[in-house]
């Protein structure tokens, strides 16, 4: 898809129509999958909601890693900031309207994104990775320390969101949370499609390929990535707030290195640099994990490890990246 998009961008106007078409198709597929999920797994909506929440984190990670080439193992800091902000707004300030909680989460995510952006962009490569690790640990430690606000390691409990729009309660079946999550995901997806296709998105891609040339062109590398970091923070904030609203407990795991690393694994699994890759990576990783860990709760980690190895061996560009490259080749061969 990524390559296809570049091609279209070069081809100019006629292609743009086709592109809008493929966008609609993508959104339609996501909607269809969401509806299918609702009816095929009516008893697993909590899991599906969790997948959506994590998918938002992975999408957010894709924005900085896949589109800007920033290496980070600390992206959960943004997600956790959103989750804790939404949770604390509900517990300590009585803001229990889900939409208001969501807004608080987005703001906090954006702020955390800007903060980590400022620090992470001070270096490149491995040292950059280390900076991101340091950030997520600092966030984690801060949340652990401020236990009167965050509940510390016991988790921030008793988050009680009001019914959504005053009508739909967050219930045992997670129906409301799921529909809420799907709508949020769609909105985010559409907005992000516009963002990554905009001149700004193209600039980010350019920076990933060759920052020196972009700088020579007169664009600000740092400023551009910072803006992307803010957007990424907002998206992660949506995911975090969704987690706080649907789970009603926020734990330190939402700010952990482990979650950051898992998000990166899911992203690479799906394929970096494309929004659908991020979605497919998340869904397949978590779904696979759920199945194998239910089948054998004691030794499933080995099987997940084997899956990751197999993917690298047989789909080195990620599930989606390799599949779309394959389809493209077929198309070209037909031409």
């Amino acid at each position: 898809m990524a390559a296809l998009m570049n091609e279209n961008a070069i081809a100019g106007k006629p292609a743009r129509v086709r592109l809008a078409g493929s966008d609609l198709l993508g959104v339609a597929i996501v909607i269809a999958a969401a509806i299918a999920g609702y009816f095929l797994f009516p008893n697993n909506l909590a899991l599906l909601t969790r997948i959506i929440s994590i998918a938002l984190l992975v999408l957010s990670l894709d924005l900085v890693t896949g589109y800007c080439g920033v290496a980070t193992l600390g992206h959960a800091a943004l997600y956790g900031a959103g989750a804790y902000a939404a949770g604390m707004a509900a517990v300590h300030f009585g803001i229990t309207d889900p939409l208001a909680m969501m807004a608080v989460g987005i703001l906090a995510g954006t702020a955390a994104g800007l903060l980590s952006g400022v620090i992470v962009l001070r270096a490149h490569g491995l040292p950059q990775l280390v900076l991101s690790i340091a950030i997520v640990h600092l966030f984690h430690e801060a949340a652990n320390k401020a236990s009167s606000w965050t509940g510390g390691s016991d988790g921030l409990a008793s988050i009680a969101p009001d019914p959504l729009l005053g009508l739909f309660e967050f219930d045992l079946w997670s129906r409301t949370a799921y529909v809420f999550g799907v709508v949020l995901l769609l909105v985010v997806l559409i907005v992000l499609r516009l963002v990554v296709r905009s001149p700004f998105g193209m600039l980010c891609r350019g920076i990933k390929e060759d920052p020196i040339r972009i700088r020579a062109m007169g664009a600000s590398v740092h400023g551009t990535i910072m803006r992307m970091y803010a957007i990424s923070g907002a998206v992660a904030g949506v995911g975090g707030a969704l987690n706080a609203i649907s789970t009603q407990v926020v734990g330190l795991d939402s700010l952990s290195f482990t979650l950051s690393a898992e998000a990166l694994v899911m992203l690479v699994l799906g394929g970096t640099g494309s929004l659908y890759g991020a979605l497919i990576g998340t869904v397949s990783f978590l779904w696979f994990e759920d199945i194998v860990s239910a089948a054998n709760p004691f030794h499933w980690l080995t099987i997940v490890g084997a899956l990751l190895i197999l993917v690298v061996l047989f789909a080195p560009r990620g599930l989606y990246g390799t599949a779309s490259a394959f389809l493209e080749r077929r198309q070209e061969a037909r031409r």
Partner: protein, 390 residues
């Protein structure tokens, strides 16, 4: 919407009645990852109970379904609990090693009409989150309070408290401080170290410099404990006569072979020692050892699980296999029995377990293995943590 839910609920409870022949019990715990040992102990306790008491209650067959939450992760715990309640139709939820995982599930209990029996998670407040929570383990307040008196009895006036900086550690510190100060001692310094600490030499140096006569410590069982106890020995604190007091997590049986001689003489208070001398415990240890495979891996979560199953069996008996959380929980309020750890009772008010707390010393047996030797009993200890929170 509400009507749909009620209808669905009715359908679920009807379904429960129709299939009264199999009663499903969902267990959520850490069965892989860094805490896999504790999850393994859950399973051993459950298997031991079912091996000794059969897998049927009346005409109803009991089926256990395990779900894995490797590290504290409330979102995953909640998702799995929902799946267990709705999809698998479990009538009881149990397990729960970590507090946040249990906290995340409590809001589901009323709507799901499911009682929750906590086999480990040790923060006092969980039982207050839902009327359907029963706990068969311990709280840090419960196990850390008596050791303060022990320290005073040993003639210690000044203690330094060193705990890992997370919920249970803070609980242990507060419990010890409260009890030790009340008994007339002084806590000269209290430090909380990050959970990720590997090198404890600097901490030991600080303990020496503080001029305390003894150290009170709490760390989660596992690798950190090993490092801490080793550092205590290697930095000459033991030789200097600085005594070591701790709740029993530090000397859990599965860590003792690794700790070896370095642990000898450490005084801990805890609710259960695998070496507890009673016929009930002998039978339990035998069955649980068989279930776990390697007897050296047997540790305290197993007894929490064993008694948790006892409570669940009593609940099934009382409800005759029907799904009725209120009736089930009411039936075990005040339930008293002889557990492998000694006499216990479910406190009708708090639904937490009242149990003996034992003072133990790590000792070496004739065949060269190490064990926690019980040397003093504090009878019928409730949970002081709930009172302290109010």
């Amino acid at each position: 919407m509400r009507r749909i839910i009620m209808a669905a609920l009715a359908a679920v409870s009807l379904g429960g009645m129709a299939h009264a022949d199999t009663i499903k019990v969902g267990v959520i715990g850490p069965f892989s990852g860094p805490f896999a040992l504790q999850g393994k102990n859950f399973k051993a306790g459950i298997d031991a109970y079912m091996a000794m008491h059969g897998d049927t209650v009346g005409d109803d067959k009991v089926e256990i379904i395990y779900r894995d939450v490797p590290a504290p992760d409330p979102a995953q715990s909640k998702a799995l609990a929902q799946e267990l309640i709705i999809k698998e139709g479990v009538q009881y939820l149990t397990g729960f090693y970590f507090t946040p995982d249990a906290m995340a599930v409590t809001p589901l209990l009323t709507q799901g009409n499911v009682p929750m029996v906590i086999m480990n998670a040790a923060t006092s407040a969980i039982v207050t989150k839902s009327p359907f929570v029963v706990r068969t383990s311990f709280t840090l307040w419960q196990t850390s309070t008596p050791i303060a008196q022990v320290a005073r009895d040993k003639g210690v006036d000044k203690v330094m408290s060193v705990v890992s900086d997370y919920g249970p550690g803070v609980d242990a510190e507060n419990a010890f401080k409260a009890a030790f100060t009340a008994a007339g001692g002084t806590v000269v310094e209290a430090i909380r170290m990050p959970l990720s600490t590997n090198d404890f030499s600097p901490i030991m140096q600080r303990i020496r410099d503080s001029g305390a006569q003894a150290v009170f410590a709490f760390l989660p069982s596992g690798p950190t404990t090993l490092g801490f106890v080793k550092a205590y020995n290697q930095n000459g604190l033991k030789e200097a006569g600085i005594q070591f007091f701790a709740p029993g997590d530090l000397t859990q049986e599965s860590d003792l072979p690794a700790l070896g001689d370095t642990a000898l003489g450490i005084l801990t208070t805890f609710h259960y020692s695998v070496a507890h001398d009673s016929p009930e415990n002998k039978a339990f240890v035998e069955a649980a050892s068989r279930a776990i495979g390697n007897p050296a891996e047997l540790s305290f979560p197993a007894v929490g699980a064993f008694d948790g199953m006892h409570v669940i069996y009593k609940m099934i008996e009382a409800t005759d296999g029907e799904q009725d959380a209120q009736k089930a929980v009411d039936a075990v309020k005040g339930l008293a029995w002889e557990s492998p750890r000694g006499p216990v009772e479910i406190d009708p008010e708090s639904r937490h377990i009242t149990e003996n707390i034992y003072l133990r010393e790590v000792a070496k047996s004739d065949d060269g293995t190490y064990y926690n030797k019980e040397i003093q009993t504090f009878e019928k200890q409730g949970d002081p943590g709930l009172a302290a929170a109010n």
